[in-house]
């Protein structure tokens, strides 16, 4: 994003920026901090600049990474899915991606609203890769890995700041304590936040085994969540 010289310094755009990247400069015009800007285009699309001073910049690699992880309606070329993750459990009634006895992890890095440097995403993916975790091949972050076995990201994207990304993988239930511990450790080493989500298939009797483990170990989980109601067709066999 760029704010051109036609800016009249009205400050209208400033509160719309989710990254707090816009400020008034000494010249009394609005300026965008290039490091903080995650190319989400909220200022361009929503703020209604009275003089149309905000323009979309033609981005070049690796800055294009910011745009693709921030612009909601743009689908990723490799998955045809818009957003920053995959279909995960939302289509599990049709895909059968998560089976009984498996736990899917979706780690919303940078959320809520903090953003992250991709080098922090790499810290987390490399810590998890040491446990033998296999990252979801269709996840957009996995496409930025130069080595999926080690979780190493491409060197040329490590200087980029993005709105969020969602490392995704699934494990067998018995591996949960090990992965949980690794996430606790890496959470102290990163300069951002993540919102942690788990995906599971509900047992035919309505029980959810992971709840028992979380309750026994006094691990916090929210009372609200997402439920796939199982009416997608054709239904996957379980």
């Amino acid at each position: 994003m760029i704010i051109t010289d036609s800016c009249v310094g009205c400050t209208r755009c400033i509160p719309y920026c989710p990254s707090g990247a816009i400020a008034i400069g000494k010249d009394k015009k609005a300026h965008i901090d290039r490091y903080k800007c995650i190319e989400c285009a909220v200022c361009f699309n929503i703020a209604n600049c009275p003089v149309n001073a905000i323009v979309l910049e033609k981005l070049e690699w690796p800055r294009t990474v910011r745009e693709v992880f921030a612009t909601v309606y743009k689908e990723h070329k490799e998955t045809n899915v818009p957003g920053r993750g995959t279909e995960e459990m939302k289509t599990n009634d049709v895909t059968g991606r998560f089976r009984l006895g498996e736990i899917g992890f979706s780690i919303d890095m940078g959320r809520p609203g903090v953003g992250l440097d991709l080098k922090d995403a790499e810290k987390l993916t490399m810590a998890l890769a040491k446990l033998g975790v296999e990252f979801e091949p269709l996840n957009p972050l996995t496409f930025l890995m130069s080595d999926k076995k080690t979780g190493k990201l491409r060197d040329d994207v490590l200087g980029e700041r993005i709105h969020s990304c969602i490392p995704e993988f699934k494990i067998k239930e018995d591996k949960f304590p090990e992965v949980f511990e690794a996430l606790q450790k890496v959470s102290k080493e990163i300069n951002t936040v993540f919102s942690l989500g788990l995906c599971v298939k509900v047992n035919p009797d309505g029980s959810v085994p992971i709840f028992k483990y979380l309750d026994q170990h006094k691990i916090f989980y929210r009372p609200n969540g997402k439920t796939n109601v199982g009416i997608g067709k054709p239904a996957a066999k379980f």
């Binding site: 400033i14 509160p15 719309y16 989710p18 909220v42 699309n45 929503i46 909601v72 309606y73 689908e75 045809n80 899915v81 957003g83 920053r84 993750g85 995959t86 279909e87 995960e88 459990m89 939302k90 289509t91 599990n92 009634d93 049709v94 895909t95 919303d108 959320r111 809520p112 609203g113 903090v114 709105h163 969602i166 959470s187 951002t192 936040v193 993540f194 919102s195 942690l196 989500g197 788990l198 995906c199 599971v200 298939k201 509900v202 309505g206 916090f220 989980y221 929210r222 009372p223 609200n224 969540g225 997402k226 439920t227 796939n228 109601v229 199982g230 009416i231 997608g232 067709k233 054709p234």
Partner: protein
């Protein structure tokens, strides 16, 4: 894409917040699904939603109803937000009976959603739960702001905009209802709940 999972707030506040999402599995039932998404939108609209949108087009508050309804695609992901269980249940019944193909996901208080599913003869198939926010939480804005901004899971609603709206309401520049609608605009998908936002803004103004 766990963007309606991590909505924060009190149990009371979350009890007027039920987003529904309709999505096809790419490569399995996505082909020729655009008309099915339109039918799903028509069903959602019949049950008093407070927001509606398509991740590929935008939300009602920014785009208006017609563009959302007429622009469905094979990789659309459509959303709607309901504020009570009766509307949610009636809507889910109709979606079930329509046998459209794409998957349907409901967000909200799990005990309440599961009770509603039981009432209408549906069973939870798969579940996505939130273990909260980890890492350097000192970087987060205050919880009362997060309760509003987390209603846009992609975090396109800025904490600064919430503060601006509170300030504008206090100075009588804008009504609470107008402020809630303004906050709903950046949330492309249409999962922001403006009715809940009005209540949360009222709490912020009283502070």
């Amino acid at each position: 894409m766990t963007h309606t999972l991590h909505r924060s707030g009190t149990v009371e506040s979350l009890s007027i917040d039920y987003p529904i999402l309709v999505i096809a599995a790419q490569g399995i039932n996505s082909k020729n699904s655009a008309p099915q998404f339109r039918k799903a939108l028509e069903i959602l609209l019949k049950h008093n939603p407070v927001n509606i949108g398509d991740m590929k087009t935008g939300n009602y508050f920014r785009k208006g109803l017609k563009p959302v309804l007429l622009s469905t695609k094979e990789n659309s992901i459509i959303h709607s937000v309901f504020t009570n269980r009766k509307d949610l249940e009636e809507c889910l019944k109709e979606l079930r009976d329509a046998q459209l193909g794409p998957s349907v996901v409901v967000s909200g208080m799990l005990a309440e959603v599961w009770d509603s599913l039981k009432k209408i003869g549906l069973k939870p198939h798969s579940l996505n739960i939130s273990l909260g926010v980890w890492g350097k939480t000192s970087l987060l804005p205050e919880q009362s702001i997060l309760d509003i901004t987390t209603m846009c899971g992609h975090h396109c609603v800025s904490p600064l905009l919430v503060k601006k709206m509170v300030s504008d309401i206090k100075r009588d520049k804008i009504s609470i209802e107008e402020a809630a609608r303004e906050l709903a605009k950046p949330c492309v998908c249409g999962v922001f709940n403006p009715l809940r936002a009005e209540q949360l803004l009222e709490d912020l103004i009283r502070k």
